[in-house]
């Protein structure tokens, strides 16, 4: 089990040189260089080449480097890929408005051709489909299993609301079902689930509360539209000291049971079953990758996979 931290990813408009030159300062788990919604049609060409040139020599710190291209059905999608993939620097392509397995498979084919043409390792470029329509939600599991390149599904709340003719409210109750459906589809496919943006950049408390709820729902991370949101999202998606402590106790109980040859594992008066163990492992993995626990404090079975 290898876990990649994707608590936060920050959108960086592709037509903004200043933001492109400061990506390494945001501290996000991922940066998403955006040629899609953040860029007007008449600026697509400029944004595409700004991103491509930034990819050649700009620093991105420890952030995963991702690019949101335009849909392949638009006049720009293929050109976006032809510009950015040859740099060899793109780790993930965000595919917007994914509605079927076929959308993903087409992207997979184009990536395979470009990787071969430019001497890159086959399959090195991963895919995260953005599911942001009613149709996309209904076919989310097909989308999530359409390519071995897929590492997560990401939800797009604004476009989804528009697609179903709904109205976005402060509580976002109207998004509860599609969010749950997306999490289930992603987890059934063995990939991560990433939540949509919180667009009120001035309301960091509201962002925190919502991000905590999304973590409880099963999401692995959330998108940011402003650097100030990154730390808040990290806090929401990081385990608390109490959760880390409990996870350590669970792992210790397992080790003791194994050493004693016992098939029944208990912590105090509580039975420890498989989901509890899996949750404890995941908690410690995230804690370790987030720098919340020293490596030597980790159980050996977690250390081995880090």
């Amino acid at each position: 089990m290898v876990y990649t931290l994707r608590r936060s990813r920050i959108y960086v408009p592709g037509n903004n040189p200043r933001m492109l030159s400061t990506c390494d300062l945001f501290g996000a788990d991922a940066v998403t260089l955006d040629i899609e919604d953040a860029v007007a049609p008449e600026q697509k060409l400029s944004a595409r080449w700004l991103i491509a040139e930034a990819l050649r020599d700009q620093p991105f710190g420890n952030s995963e480097v991702t690019v949101r291209i335009n849909a392949l059905s638009t006049p720009w999608g293929h050109r976006d890929l032809e510009a950015v993939i040859p740099t060899g620097r793109v780790e993930v392509i965000y595919l917007p408005k994914a509605e079927s397995a076929r959308d993903v498979q087409e992207l997979d084919r184009v990536l395979t051709d470009l990787e071969e043409e430019h001497g890159l390792e086959s399959g090195q470029t991963k895919i995260i489909p953005l599911v942001e329509s009613a149709r996309g939600i209904l076919f989310a599991h097909d989308i999530a299993t359409a390519s071995h390149r897929i590492v997560a599904l990401s939800f797009g709340g604004e476009d989804y609301t528009r697609d179903v003719g709904g109205e976005k409210t402060d509580t976002e109750e109207e998004l509860a079902w599609p969010r749950s459906a997306l999490v289930a589809a992603a987890k059934a496919a063995g990939v991560q689930a990433l939540d949509t943006v919180y667009s009120n950049v001035d309301d960091l408390d509201g962002l925190y509360r919502q991000a905590v709820k999304m973590r409880q729902l099963g999401f692995d991370g959330k998108a940011a539209v402003h650097p100030n949101q990154v730390e808040v999202i990290h806090r929401a998606f990081s385990p608390s000291p109490e959760e880390i402590d409990y996870a350590l106790q669970v792992m210790q109980a397992i080790e003791e049971a194994e050493a004693g040859g016992s098939g029944v594992i208990a912590l105090g008066r509580k039975m420890i079953d498989k989901p509890v163990v899996a949750r404890a492992e995941r908690t410690l993995m995230i804690a370790a990758l987030s720098g919340l626990i020293a490596r030597d404090k980790l159980p050996e079975r977690i250390r081995e996979v880090l």
Partner: protein
Amino acid sequence: MTKLQKEVTTGTDSKEDLLLTLKPASKGSGISVSISGKGAVQFSEEIEATVRQVLEEMGVTDASVEIVDYWAFDFTIRARTKAAVLHATGRDEVVT
């Protein structure tokens, strides 16, 4: 050889960007580059070298380039030059 078909301006006057105007020039006249703006005093040689390199890579031999620099990084200079050539030659979609 890449032939420019029209005059085009790329970039913005925002900080760390530049405005680059690329104009067609008669055959055999070569490349001329003029640079003004905030970063020009300190970095005009570097900016001109970058622009000339991109033009050469793209096969442009005759052109006039006017730049107003607002402390653009090298990647921005390259990108703006490339976008200008692609637009001026009709090899890509509309650009601003």
